[in-house]
Subunit: 295 residues, 2 copies
């Protein structure tokens, strides 16, 4: 029932069939620069300085492709409402999800260096975006300093998030990856002012699986494992975090079930032998780094 997206009933549905339909995106009423800045986190009002500047707002239906990988880049997009996933389609049809984006996030910036989009972007629910023409981007950045700084800020955040995604793809137990993903989702929700305990996941198990680098069946199994361990309550895409501390402990641990929680309370759940991992660079050669965390 997808209980409500962000912009219900826009009356533009256009009924046509799937991929033949030309416009997965449709133009809505234009927005102002102030609207754009607000969603990007700039409180300051610049209406008086640039009153006339407006830019198009597009509606994107759930499942529609906003940006096509390989297509020439015309616009930079900033999410106004809704949720998107960014993905690359590998040569054999495989889809690798790279990130999820919500209000305030920038889409399509990776196309600037080559002129072609390096990744596709698909709406996970009915959404709206600001479409900034690439031709005018430099002009606006030079004439609207808050916009420029907000853009740099968003790009920096996007790079930092790419690192977090790599952490979630790190070769650790699948339950740990899912726990990290849920913690990450939780703090994302909190940053947007929503409840960090009750999550409604907009993405499918497949998408989560691709982001975490596991099979989607494994995501299901990891969900039930976290439920068995008392961390969560799960009903399809609704997730309630019952024990945030335990979930975080699981997310921090390299492999499987955290040690200090293994005794008693969750009987018989312990099944892995080792808890230290040889994987990758644990305790590698950079002693300067180790020095920052004295034994």
């Amino acid at each position: 029932m997808l209980p409500q997206a962000s912009l219900p009933g826009d009356g533009l549905s256009s009924g046509g069939g799937w991929f033949v339909r030309r416009n997965p995106v449709m133009v809505a009423a234009p927005g102002t620069i102030s609207d754009l800045l607000r969603v990007m986190g700039v409180s300051q009002d610049v209406t008086q300085r640039e009153p006339a500047l407006t830019l198009p707002v597009w509606r994107v239906r759930s499942g529609a492709v906003l940006l096509h990988e390989g297509a020439v880049a015309d616009f930079l997009q900033v999410v106004r409402s809704g949720t998107f996933k960014s993905l690359r389609t590998l040569e054999d049809g495989y889809e690798q999800v790279l990130s999820f984006a919500g209000p305030g996030d920038v889409l399509g910036f990776d196309a600037l260096c080559s002129g072609h989009h390096a990744s596709s972007v698909v709406a996970l629910e009915d959404s709206t975006v600001f479409a900034v023409p690439l031709r005018e981007l430099d002009h606006w950045r030079q004439h609207c300093t808050p916009l420029d700084q907000a853009l740099q800020f968003a790009l920096s955040r996007q790079l930092a998030r790419a690192g977090q995604v790599a952490e979630m793809m790190a070769p650790v137990a699948s339950e740990v990856r899912l726990a990290r993903f849920l913690v990450w989702q939780s703090v994302s929700m909190a940053e947007r002012g929503e409840s960090p305990r009750r999550l409604y996941l907009r993405m499918s198990r497949r998408d989560i699986a691709s982001l975490l680098g596991v099979a989607h069946e494994t995501v299901s199994r990891s969900f039930t494992a976290l439920v068995d361990w008392g961390c969560l309550r799960v009903d399809n895409r609704e997730v309630e975090i019952l024990d945030a501390d335990r979930l975080r402990a699981c997310a921090h641990n390299t492999r499987g079930f955290p040690d200090e929680l293994a005794r008693g309370e969750v009987a018989g759940a312990r099944r892995r032998g080792t808890c230290s991992s040889n994987l990758a660079n644990a305790r590698s050669a950079h002693r300067e780094l180790d020095a920052t965390r004295p034994a």
Copy 2:
């Protein structure tokens, strides 16, 4: 104990041990904006417009930590020469390599949104960087348009690369990941004007393993597998690509050894059963995407 850190006797070592030591990086002669722009790929000379602007150049010895994860960010770095790795240290001491950076690449931009570095940066060989004070960054960007555009270009490329890294971490056979990594390294070398056939890897097997999301022993085994398949010749960190087409074919295939190469020539090397993968989003639900590649 902790036998020596990054600076084998630079005179600054201050004898007092490890992390207390202040300067793993040393100041060299300052560079000009033109130098910075040149390494970032801007041919245009702006010396006449901004003749007086110079900025510090730092020397970073092999193994030294240029940026510390969690530290407050003072500078933005642009690689002038050498190679770096960027990594995040997880809570349990695990090191996740995020990317490798060479001349022209920007380091530390992920700190702009939070004020603290989201990742550490370590030199893989003796290197030099331009250090751009964050306080002056906006000023320079506004007064030197080529620098600003070069920065945006570099950031866009960095985001695109993050996607490629995710592809290399994708859950496919380990030999495929290594093949993708080598192809990626090869084109990187070609872009810098060096030979795409003969590679000298600056990073250790551990670092490669972390980037690919496998154990470092598996990287060794995958190297020997690619050698057995006739793709490579490997001597420690020197790699010669013998059959680029076959290597690319292996990199494109989802799992293991490419089919069309399996017969005859490499006898007995075939050992995997399936070649199609259920993993993640192969052929998932987005019909618009399929429309772009007609059957």
